[in-house]
């Protein structure tokens, strides 16, 4: 297995620490991306260092390059010590010798009001022509976001599909007996703690607007579903009924949740209107019904049930009604996630004693195993349906991984100090 280590998000003012980083894992580099495996068709691109980025708080070019490589569709070529920006007239011969197909160069300039002007140009190296321009004005704290937007712009220009790097993920860490809910950039960097608790936190789920999270917290000595406003930190229990309350999933309009409640006995699916009112029961079979996931158009609800004797994934109308079975092979299929484009169903299947991420083409029913690990959990799709994030145990530690839908390119979002779990990929930031 080929391992490429990319260290990203380095602060220029901490350059001295680079020497130390060879000796010890630096505390400020919270995540390290490891790309494992090589895809068949990766577009070779050069992202030149940005003019002015040595004096800026973020190394834009390396953030952009890491994003593009994690997508599995690009191979970043070393730019060397070239001095280029968006106004340059590049000399094509060195890039053509490297077989580069695209070149990106740009600049980052501090404005009088303290904000930063970010500009970039994308060239087609083969044709020797400029292809597109990028411009963004952001605060210092938003430079990483700007780099992710730039990666989305390049992705869109070169693949024809929108990128999804300017999005966020949430996840949970356990360090000692502290549980923390984190919000991070899609590359796992720039994390902010939204909640810390001495009791477990599971199942964070982004609202469609990206401003709220629903999750399950055990702080009341039982599972209770909360909705948490990220900007203000305001949170409220939206399902604290007798018994267990869990597995929140947002409806497409953000006005209600599907969740699992045990108030009637067993684990049953309910629809909870966030403006209040009695939860409405959706499932009627005995036993376990849990892990609801709405189809992107909101018409159907995928969920897990043991009604047939073993946990399998089923689909029913979102308002409740007859359920049809979706998974047929194996005796343990859980944690359904539907891609935003509606084409794919990701889930975890037990094969032998191993829990592995699988992908089903919903139109044909064809299933592919995406991993060879043994404790995969909780997949969720990137907003552009091209990547999955999931939790697994990698080299003995709970870790988060991203994978392409063909399973060929995996990147590890490896945090420091503690186990990382329960990822959920949020919408692209406006």
């Amino acid at each position: 297995m080929k391992l490429v280590f990319l260290r990203i998000g380095l602060l220029s003012c901490l350059l001295k620490l680079l020497v130390l980083s060879a000796l010890a894992v630096p505390a400020w580099a919270q995540f390290r991306v490891e790309v494992t495996g090589v895809g068949m068709t990766q577009l070779p691109v050069v992202i030149a260092p940005f003019k002015g980025e040595a004096a800026a708080p973020q190394k834009l070019a390396s953030i952009v390059q890491a994003d593009l490589e994690r997508s599995g569709q690009f191979k970043g070529l070393a730019a060397g010590s070239v001095l280029l920006d968006e106004t340059s007239r590049p000399d094509w011969s060195p890039w053509r010798q490297l077989s580069a197909e695209a070149l990106v160069a740009g600049s980052v300039t501090r404005l009088a009001d303290g904000r930063f002007d970010v500009r970039a140009r994308l060239w087609d190296v083969v044709k020797g022509q400029e292809k597109s321009d990028f411009k963004d004005t952001v605060s210092a704290g938003e430079l990483r976001l700007s780099a992710h937007r730039m990666a989305d712009w390049i992705y869109q220009q070169l693949t024809g599909t929108p990128g999804a790097f300017a999005s966020r993920i949430s996840y949970v860490t356990k360090a000692g007996d502290r549980y923390s809910l984190w919000i991070a950039d899609s590359d796992g960097e720039n994390s902010k703690s939204a909640l810390t608790s001495p009791e477990p936190i599971i199942s964070p789920s982004w609202s469609p607007s990206g401003t709220q999270l629903a999750y399950v917290s055990f702080e009341l000595r039982k599972p209770v579903v909360y909705v948490h406003e990220l900007v203000t930190g305001q949170r409220r229990a939206v399902a604290n009924f007798k018994g267990s309350n869990s597995a929140p999933a947002w409806s497409a309009d953000g006005k209600s949740l599907a969740a699992t409640l045990s108030r009637d006995g067993g684990s049953q699916l309910f629809r909870i209107d966030l403006n209040g009112g009695e939860p409405r029961r959706l499932s009627s079979s005995g036993g376990i019904n849990t892990e609801p996931a709405f189809s992107p158009d909101g018409s159907a609800l995928f969920f897990v049930s043991d009604r047939g004797g073993s946990p399998q994934i089923y689909r029913m109308p979102a308002q409740g009604g007859p359920a049809e079975r979706v998974t047929f092979s194996g005796t343990y299929n859980i944690s359904p996630a539907v891609s935003p484009d509606g084409r794919w169903l990701a889930y975890v299947s037990r094969i032998g004693g191993a829990f592995r991420l699988h992908l089903m083409d919903l139109a044909s029913g064809q299933v592919t195993a995406l991993t060879d690990t043994s404790a995969d959990e909780r997949p969720s799709f990137a907003p552009n349906s091209r990547l999955l994030v999931y939790a697994t145990i990698f080299q003995g530690r709970e870790s988060l991984m991203t994978t392409t839908l063909d399973g060929r390119i995996k990147a590890r979002l490896a945090g420091q100090g503690g186990d990382i779990r329960e990822p959920h990929w949020g919408p692209v930031r406006k």
Binding site: P57, G114, V138, S139, A140, G141, E142, L145, I183, N190, K192, S193, A194, L195, T196, S197, P198, E199, P200, I202, S203, T211, V216, S217, F218, E219, L220, R221, K222, P223, H228, L230, V231, T232, G233, Q234, R235, K242, G243, S244, S246, A247, T260, S262, G265, G266, S267, I288, T290, E291, V304, P311, I334, V348, G353, F355, E377, R378, R421, E422
Partner: protein, 178 residues
């Protein structure tokens, strides 16, 4: 609320320091109303650079626990993939049933747990099944349903950390908490 919570903590501490002959029959120990009194919110919606991070941190403090019947096990174990209360657990459940019938004002939380294998939410549902098995056993012995709440921790709170079968067996359990 905080005062009441501290007072009940103090009371529990005093009890713990006493000889075991203390009569518990009319002890008004706070149970699950001792909640997360320390939830606090701090606004870090904007970072020092003025960026809208859109995230404000919240800190939750630890909650308390009460005391049930003295000298009685409070854990019931289960076989793999099973929700059936074993015969050996019978005396434990009967003891708790007697205690709850003698103390109608007391309430018990039946906390279901699973081993580490499989997904978190599905394990939560499995632990719920175990907790409800114990609830049914207590109900059959005459305990009022209003004194019982079956909840689940799924695989979130293992007592044994290893992955050997002996560890997994210790984790497949229902804890009876007051």
């Amino acid at each position: 609320m905080t005062k009441k919570f501290l007072a009940s903590l103090l009371f529990v501490a005093l009890l713990a320091g006493c000889a075991s002959g203390v009569k518990l029959d009319d002890v008004p120990v706070e149970d699950k109303s001792a909640t997360s009194s320390g939830v606090s919110t701090q606004g870090i919606g904007n970072d020092q650079n003025g960026a809208q991070t859109g995230v404000s941190g919240v800190v939750v403090d630890k909650s308390g626990s009460g005391i049930g019947p003295v000298g009685v096990a409070h854990v019931v174990y289960f076989d793999y993939d099973s929700f059936v209360v074993r015969a050996e657990a019978r005396p434990v459940i009967e003891n708790h049933a007697r205690f709850l019938q003698a103390n109608k004002q007391r309430k018990a939380n039946l906390e279901g747990h699973t081993d580490e294998r499989g997904g978190r939410e599905y394990n939560l549902a499995l632990g719920q099944k175990r907790a409800e098995s114990v609830r049914q056993a207590l109900s059959l012995l005459g305990v009022s349903d209003s004194q019982l709440e079956a909840v689940s921790y799924g695989k979130e709170k293992p007592v044994a950390q290893g992955s050997a079968e002996a560890d997994l067996a210790k984790n497949r359990r229902v804890e009876i908490r007051y």
